[in-house]
């Protein structure tokens, strides 16, 4: 008990961050990371619960009290080794997981005080290891002689690859882009997740012997049938939900109206923020409207500021309470000066004689009865049309299933929205020796859920490769 009282007195250690006014104009990472002293202090706040609620909240079941305890003892390599047992991308998860809804949301300390900063501690352990390289990597199993193809190098594909390599299988990852990482490299901006971190995680896989075949669009460069013919024993599909959704309103094809995918890919993966040093351009708007309210929309609106926007608006049809983005991201966006135009729904875009977008017409909305999602549905206020002048629009209202691969693969059951049907407990699809997981099964979700699906599938694939279907 005495121990408990003592630990409650330490306040949650604040994550040092770049000043809002400064960071809104650069692409450097926003949170700067905890110092070892602060990490040890924060670790001291953990009660080392016998039945840790935080672990229940973690989709991959990281042994949270154990790794926190090692940080408290100053054994940082020991901490990362503990995390690695369950999570192969801790530097990524420590930065982008919605901890407030997962581990930290369940933490007992959070009942009375601010919960233990599990995410920040995970990030600390991973960053410390990347800088110091002290921990012993998990060891690889004896070779089984089985070949596995993983399609897509997002968090879910990377997890499958990591797990199966450890179990002794021969793994090749096929990736359509010229860089591995999926949304982690083309979508989530540098200021939230430095790309070097993703590459270093992939290099780790490389070092263990996984092959990464870039520039390979499965379904076009090579088909699933051809992969089997080349001797692959099992295939995992982790292709994400990479289909941009547009609103279908007039003027959407004016130049200057982007999908979030295109805007973020140009800026992050192709490094348009360093144009003309890098060759890919992106339109730098003065008045930028981002339509949508999720993490993607926050990322786009904050990117626009960093590219020099004078006004960066979020236009969202419900109210602040319903914003699907993480609270921390909304807060960061507000601090940086993103202008929230809530209860607002676009109805059309205006263009000039050169076909460039110059404005948007929108309607004011009110909240009505709850809809199927449980959220109060927005209802248009009659006659409330108004105009926002803008020279760049980013549509960030969600993503769908890209049909490129699924259309070219026979016998793969899809649901009516085009996502792959896969068994939740195993990741098995309707096709023998083919597994799937991540956003292409669930629809747009989170990094950690995509990893969890990868873990489940890797276990099932291992069973298949050693025991049979």
């Amino acid at each position: 008990m005495a121990e408990k009282e003592k630990s409650e007195k330490i306040p949650r250690q604040k994550m040092p961050e770049q000043e809002p006014a400064v960071r809104a104009r650069n692409f450097n990472e926003v949170p700067l990371g905890l110092s070892p002293e602060a990490a040890i202090m924060e670790a001291g706040r953990c009660l080392q619960c016998k039945k840790p609620a935080c672990v229940e909240g973690c989709p991959v079941g990281v042994d949270i009290p154990a790794f926190i305890n090692r940080i408290r003892e100053g054994d940082f390599p020991g901490a990362i080794q503990k995390i690695w047992e369950r999570n192969s991308l801790p530097a990524v998860c420590g930065r982008v997981c919605p901890q407030e809804m997962q581990c930290e949301g369940k933490c007992i300390v959070g009942k009375k005080d601010a919960p233990v900063a599990i995410g920040n501690l995970e990030r600390f352990a991973a960053d410390y290891e990347r800088a110091n390289r002290k921990a012993v990597k998990p060891s690889k199993g004896a070779s089984t002689g089985k070949k596995v193809a993983v399609v897509g190098s997002g968090p879910s594909g990377l997890t499958v690859a990591g797990d199966l390599i450890l179990k002794g299988h021969d793994v090749t990852i096929f990736e359509a882009f010229h860089r591995p990482g999926g949304v982690l490299v083309y979508g989530i901006p540098e200021f939230r997740l430095p790309k070097e971190i993703v590459f270093s995680e992939v290099d780790g896989l490389d070092a263990m012997g996984a092959r990464v075949e870039l520039n390979t669009v499965v379904g076009r460069s090579v088909t699933i049938e051809e992969l089997f013919a080349q001797g692959y024993d099992a295939i995992y599909l982790g292709v994400g939900a990479g289909l941009p959704v547009f609103m279908g309103i007039p003027g959407e094809n004016f130049a200057g109206v982007f999908s979030a995918n295109e805007y973020l890919t140009r800026t992050n993966l192709m490094k348009a923020y360093r144009f003309p040093e890098y060759d890919t351009p992106v339109i730098k708007g003065k008045n930028v409207v981002t339509v949508g309210g999720g993490n993607v929309a926050m990322d786009a609106a904050r990117t626009a500021l960093r590219l020099g926007a004078e006004n960066s608006y979020i236009v969202y049809r419900r109210s602040k309470n319903e914003l699907p983005a993480r609270a921390a991201e909304v807060h960061h966006a507000e601090e940086e000066g993103v202008n929230f135009r809530l209860l607002t729904n676009p109805t059309r875009f205006f263009g000039d004689d050169k076909g460039r977008v110059i404005g948007m017409e929108a309607l004011k909305m009110e909240l009505g009865e709850p809809d199927a999602s449980g959220r109060r549905s927005p209802v248009a206020v009659k006659g409330s049309e108004f105009r926002i002048d803008c020279d760049l629009v980013i549509i960030a209202i969600g993503a769908g299933a890209n049909p490129l691969l699924t259309k070219s693969t026979e016998g793969l059951a899809l649901n009516k929205r085009g996502y792959i049907v896969a068994d939740q407990a195993t990741g098995k699809t309707s096709r023998k020796a083919v597994w799937a997981g991540g956003d292409i099964v669930t629809g747009s979700a989170t990094v950690i859920l995509a990893m969890g699906a990868g873990r489940v599938a890797a276990n099932s694939m291992h069973d298949y490769l050693t025991l049979g279907w």
């Binding site: 090579v222 094809n253 130049a255 003309p276």
Partner: protein, 274 residues
């Protein structure tokens, strides 16, 4: 890395041919498909149609016109140099069938795109008339290859320096007047040329296929940057195309969308030349 095994200047140094080692793509590519190339780390992803493939040798051929920074950079690559990334084959292959009489019209570097399609249409047993054009004689490419790929080749230049003096549309009108039983037209070249050709064939009621070249990023249907309006619906040229029914395409919208980055492109090219 994708090594350039052969380089050739086709027209006054503004049109360049590269034959590139890319065995997996060469084995797979069909007429009408394209690749996306990136020269180096800082490079842009540039879509170019495969003008030819050699599956035995494991090579693909691209022919491009220097219009801005990236194509200018591509033009500096020598034999033995390599592209960092080549992705493909992308796009839906041309639908090839035996129809009877067909006419293929190519303008500028569009002729390079047209060549494999023409060859395939001839191989499928069609009677192929070809019309190729350029601004002047020096800019005309692949004349011999196109002659071999068709039954009847007509050449024209805008300035009259070679062949018929005038636009490909003039010759197209004449061909369609002579051949009332033309089953299909294929028109590939600059957007204004494809638009004009489609207007002519519409008058004659001849189905027309064009190959669109909107600005692309991924080429896999992920970004939506390549969207074009066809028959009032939005299509993604990289996966639904690049070939579409010319009578249905909104060419004016395409023209405007192609100008989206004009200022940055200028900035980039100016920087590069310094």
């Amino acid at each position: 890395m994708f090594k350039i095994v052969k380089r050739k200047e086709m027209a006054k140094g503004t049109v360049v041919l590269n034959e590139i080692e890319a065995p997996l793509i060469a084995a797979k590519a069909k007429p009408g498909q394209f690749v996306i190339l990136k020269a180096n780390e800082a490079g842009e992803r540039i879509p170019l149609t495969m003008a030819d493939t050699n599956p035995e040798k494991g090579t693909i051929t691209i022919i491009f016109m220097v219009v801005g920074k990236s194509t200018a950079l591509f033009a500096t690559l020598k034999e033995g140099d390599a592209y960092m990334d080549v992705i493909g084959p992308l796009g839906a292959p041309t639908h090839i069938e035996k129809l009877g009489k067909v006419v293929c019209v190519g303008g500028g570097t569009g002729v390079a795109v047209l060549h494999p399609i023409t060859r395939a249409l001839k191989q499928a047993g069609n009677e192929v008339t070809c019309i190729i054009g350029a601004r002047n004689k020096e800019l005309l490419i692949l004349e011999d290859e196109m002659r071999a790929a068709s039954h009847d080749l007509r050449v024209c230049t805008d300035d009259g320096s070679y062949g018929h003096h005038g636009f490909v549309t003039d010759v197209l009108k004449a061909v369609l007047t002579e051949n009332k039983d033309m089953k299909l037209a294929v028109a590939i070249g600059p957007v204004p040329m494809m638009k004009a050709c489609s207007a002519v064939t519409k008058e004659f009621g001849v189905k027309t296929m064009v190959s669109l070249n909107p600005i692309m990023v991924d080429g896999t249907g992920m970004c939506g940057g390549c969207r074009v309006s066809v028959g009032g619906k939005t299509k993604f040229a990289c996966v639904d195309g690049p070939e579409f029914d010319g009578h249905e395409v909104d060419f004016d919208e395409l023209t405007l969308r192609l100008r989206a980055y004009t200022e940055q492109e200028k900035e980039s090219y100016t920087c590069y030349r310094k």
